[in-house]
């Protein structure tokens, strides 16, 4: 135990991301929509002591009900399109969608077209784009933070995000398990 804790202390000192610039608390829900698992491996490291995304007021949560950001990996297979939609509709508004990795961005996707419902941008309004195959944990953290910064600073987006806790619950009629009634927003 002592060795483990000592190692963690050293590592914590070496962490490199620049400090957060404004107070926020945003919850992220991850959905794997058909990735190769590379994006997940890197994303999972974000919560570790090296990158420690919690210190920037971001955390990964277990339910879309608690989430502000839907973070999607993979090119969106036909089989994941509906679960993805259900997760999105279960989120309170305002909500954001982040595309993590080239597959989610619809770039260089290797797959049989018949098996894909994506790209993600045709199914949901994508607010944050994090390219890479896979993006490293640093780029994921930086991508999320830069994306949020751009949205909160851009007047056109001001209604799309709230960095405080004034969230509204999902409206009845669009809540889980309703699906198929979503109109992709122009963005």
């Amino acid at each position: 135990m002592f060795v483990l804790l000592r190692q963690l202390r050293t590592i914590r000192r070496e962490a490199s991301l620049r400090p957060g610039d404004e107070p926020r608390w945003l919850a992220i829900r991850h959905v794997d929509a058909g990735s190769c698992n590379g994006c997940e491996h890197e994303l999972a490291l974000l919560g570790g002591p090296l990158h420690d995304i919690q210190r920037f007021g971001l955390d990964i949560v277990a339910s879309p009900r608690h989430a502000d950001i839907l973070l999607v990996t993979g090119p969106v297979t036909t089989r994941m399109a509906q679960p993805l939609q259900i997760a999105y509709e279960a989120m309170p508004t305002p909500r954001l969608v982040a595309a993590l990795g080239d597959c989610a961005l619809g770039c260089n996707v290797l797959a049989d077209r018949d098996q894909l419902a994506g790209p993600l941008s045709e199914l949901l309004p994508v607010d944050i784009r994090i390219p890479g195959c896979p993006p490293s944990p640093e780029s994921i953290a930086a991508g999320l933070l830069d994306g949020l910064r751009a949205i909160t600073q851009h007047p056109a987006h001001s209604s799309r995000v709230s960095t405080t806790r004034d969230r509204r619950p999902p409206q009845s009629g669009t809540v889980w398990p309703g699906h198929g009634n979503h109109q992709p927003k122009e963005h």
């Binding site: 135990m1 570790g48 002591p49 090296l50 297979t77 797959a111 049989d112 896979p134």
Partner: protein
Amino acid sequence: MTVPELIDARELRTALTGTLESGARFVGAWATADGGWRVALATVQGTRVLVCTPAGGRVDSIVQTVGAAVWDEREAHDLYGLEFDGHEPLRTLVDHSAALEAWTTPVRGGGVHQVAVGPIHAGVIESGHFRFHCVGDRILALDPRLFYKHRGLERAAEGRGYGQALPYAARACAACSVANTVAYAQAVEDAVGLWPPAELRRQRTLLLELERAYNHLNDIGAVCAGVGFAPGSMAFAVLKDRAQELCRQAFGHRFLFGAVAVGHGPATLDAAQADALRAQLRELRADAAAAWRDLEFSASLQARLDGVGVLSHDRALQFGAVGPAARASGVVRDVRTDSPRLAYMGFVPASLPQAGGDVAARFQIRAAELEATWELLDGLLSEPLTRSAATWQEPGGGVGVGRVESPRGETVCMVELAAGRVARLHLRSASYANWPALADATAGNLLPDFPLINKSFELCYACVDR
């Protein structure tokens, strides 16, 4: 060299029984778009592929003799429409359109209920669905339903040149991408008649062991996470991250994408780079050993692992389990002992004094294997790494099989070529082989222990779903 053997489909079962009695082992089966059915067997002389075309799309099932072929037949039925006589009931696997009863185990009795989990899970986890049949918290049976991530990679690779098709094997799964692509490269080289010289064998072995190192570090941390032992999961997450950083520094990618090619080895290290990597790996090894010792002395962690999720020796054999999971159940089998196309001369697979087949055993075997991997890496890095190319042997038979020990066990890639293009590519990863065994090891355990049991196998969904 793999020689495809054309047989009458009606003779398949007889031919198979004979071969198995003489010591061969089933390593995979796949259907083709023109109604063909292939069964691959590993023998001491090499891989044999039995090729047949079942009349009217019906063939005798082999699952009575080969328990490991259950998923292969279910997949061939769903994707290629083959019917298997004697496979009763033939549950759907890849096809998600079927009713619940068509793919779940019938379980009846007082107090029996189902618990459905997924496809989306609570953390950063791949998508897949589990249906538990329970009485109270006790699991009677588990039906995993995967293939939510089915991208049709095999079909998408068809018709491409064999160099172009390699990324489809790589992207099947990032964490097994070296194993998958080396198996693919071996299959193509086998099919066309290429042989890797010593330098190429060393290069691929080095990449495979680097992949194993970061995966085993990850998987040890995963068991800690399954228990909720944060110091362990955090420490090993950092060690894994460091191992991947070494991959990036040496070969340009944290998952080693692009480091394997068909017919040659693009990765190079000059003497200084090889020395530096070797020194950093030694440091990592020392830190990993210290962290592991700490885990061994964490009584609260260890107490959670014993006797949970037992895969018995017999069941491991019956299901054709592979890799660390099989070795933890006392099935001491490792493709590295039989890899003439790689640099594993004299390799001795890890074994445990008490291979109980439980979470504790799967945890310990990874630490033991990690030691072997550090040792191998140290030896492989004693010289610089230079470019190398495979050499032509006698022309191959157009069908090739590559077998590689991935971090999760035996991964088999089968390739059929026509006019220099991929006519059929099939990847049977170690995870594919082990999912039925995992489901079996879950029965009889408590539902809240499932995440821990699942983490102790740490199987991929991506390379199963393809």
